[in-house]
Amino acid sequence: MSVFAIIAARLAKAALTLLCIAVLNFCLLHAAPGDPAVVLAGEAGAADEQMIEQLRERFGLDQPFGVQLWKYVSGVAQLDLGYSFRQGAPVIELIADRLPATLLLTGAAFVISLVCGIALGVAAAARVGKPQDSLLTTFALLFYATPLYWAALMAVLVFSVWLGWLPGFGYETVGAGYTGMARIIDIAQHLVLPALTLGLFFMAVYMRMTRASMLEVSTADFVKTARAKGLSDAVIRRRHILRNAILPVVTLAGLQAGQLIGGAVLTETVFAWPGIGRLMFESLAARDYNTILGVFLVSAAMVIAFNIVTDIVYRLVDPRIGARA
């Protein structure tokens, strides 16, 4: 089967999966206690019957559940994610507004964790049993075990409050009016702490996994053969060991990539990063149904997309997978 045929089949399945996810999310969310009209009315500090009825009517909550579900799902089928009555804007616009910030943050964290994780893992495996190896694995364990939330606050405390090196939160300097290069530098500075905090955990995971996998593969017969052929250590490590050892890392990276949209709620909250994770969290608190469903759906689509990408990457890294399929 050609790669294109596989992709086509996967996409067809993906569409069905997404539809199921939309229905399931809708049902789950409506089963949760609380209703957006009461929340909105409640925030006003006063509410009467008339106000709540007005709001429910406006939100379409006065209609039977089946009708609401049908309206939503048929909307989704036409790529219409609905309207956020709370925020007075189409959901797709809200998500599009927040998407760049999130992708920048999670993308940076993804690259940092993957590159550093693999590099450190290879380095640790090459020096297995030596002090450098112990040092690296200890740090990895530390990062792995540290709660993200705490690490984030400590990073702010140290680098922003005490040392004053980096801005502690936000996406850019508010009201500075930077443009062009100055703006890029400004955003990059704001990006450092949240991206590192978010990246640390996965970096530790990649490192441990690369190290273990490298060590396992390095005892394989074909490595002995390569060594017997007189290849240099560096070439063996790069072409023979790493290439075979990288598969589990790719699997995991696929999983992390799937979380690029929804996986940064805590980091975005602590660093006041104006991304999707926060939009989802705040919408959940307000029971802003359409917005939450929209974010869920986009995240789900992302997970599915990256699963497909991961599959393709497998084939590139290890041609045997394609040959067997």
Binding site: D97, G170, V174, P274, E282
Partner: protein
Amino acid sequence: MNSLKATTFLIAAALAAPLAAQQAGGRLDIVVQPEPPGLMLGLVQNGPTQLVAGDIYEGLLRYDTDLNPMPGLAESWEVAEDGLTYTFKLHEGVTWHDGEPFTAEDVVFSAGTFLPETHARLRASLAYVDTITALDPLTVEFKLKEPFGPFISVFESGTMPMVPKHIYEGTDFAANEANNTPIGTGPFKFDEWVKGSYIHLVKNEDYYVDGLPYLDEVYYRVIPDAASRAVAFETGEVDVLPGGSVENWDVARLTEMENVCSTGKGWEFFAPHAWMWLNNREGPTSDVRFRQAIMYAMDREFMRDVVWNGLGKVPTGPVSSATNFYSDDVTIYDHDPDKAKALLEEMGYDGSTIRLLPLPYGETWQRWAEAVRQNLSEVGINVEIDSTDVAGWNEKTSQWDYDMAFTYLYQYGDPALGVSRNYTADRIEKGSPWNNVEGYDNPELDAKWFAAATMTSAEERQAAYDEIQKEIVDDVPVAWMLELEFPTLYRCNVHDLVTTGIGVNDGPRNAWIEE
């Protein structure tokens, strides 16, 4: 030589300047938490919206920290002897932010057409209004059906914001595109809202009060995490932390910093009053002796000192000491576990478990619930703490699914506006957590509440409310916990930030920064 001269000159200039000469210019960064759902104050009136939109929209009157009315959009006003006619003379030369003139027609539209449809809290007060008439472009007359004592207190910006007739007349108010770019008459104009980051307001150059506002711009910063908000203030990223935006233990720490001032003022109009609803309908809490036992069992002073870091005041009853017509001539419930135990024994409490629903507003409230459980378990009451989020809390309380539930409510300066709604039987309505949720039903007292609302003389009203407070405190319909104090933290070189009973909500109007 030159620089020496310059320095001398500067020193001389500084000495010559009067101490409180307001300086124009500068930018103020204020925390807003959570991010408001919208800024059109006529449609949304939650706390964050009032904070931001209080600079954009205005009411006819403003109120000082003793709740006396002050000129707002109305420069003078008159109340007729019979308490039925209120006449307002509007400020001359006021324009909306889009340049259109503000006239009496806008007042008639706002109070007569727009707000009755959108503003639940005001609707209850407007029920007393018979007609609203524009006598001339700068004069408006409100005629009431019957006297309504607190009527003079309903003209504040969050209660009766003036909205532009020329934009909203004949449209679907909630769906109007203009809601995203609010147009008011206030000292600041809406400029930009970057969702999730900040709201930017700029100086209204055409503001009708000469010289005001002093500030060039105001940024409302959205920072979702309480600890990060504290850090933002610490690092100088923001200049003002409005009440309630950081946890109490951080308040103490931040106030000790250099150039940081703190004030508890600016909440008098709201007078947030915290209590626990005790379900009067069923279970042990339906027995008045049980409810009294709860009051005696709790060490409310201790809770205030520990949970609230000493901020606030233990209340004597339903009316806050900051609100008009307060009385302390009532039964005082001191911490007396023996009395509590005696009451429980007398009623034959069987030790059944009582569910307590904390307010899901952060750590402080969680700890408060734990302190209550601790106190109650000391007299033998079993308490189980329910946990939920804000939406779940709304649902549970408005469906009466609780035994004890924390809440707090604003009082809006007058018992008839912000207190009686929680105690009269006509306000027992499922579906809203902002009425008589506990189910307290006392027809005799109801009659007194209603009568007190429609009296015209302040003395009469005081006497009536004295009586009501004395009686209701013995019934303990709810367990009054604390008159909350939300201190505002700000840099000491920001002056005149809190000058009214609504504090920072209209603070930037007069605020100025000393360089």
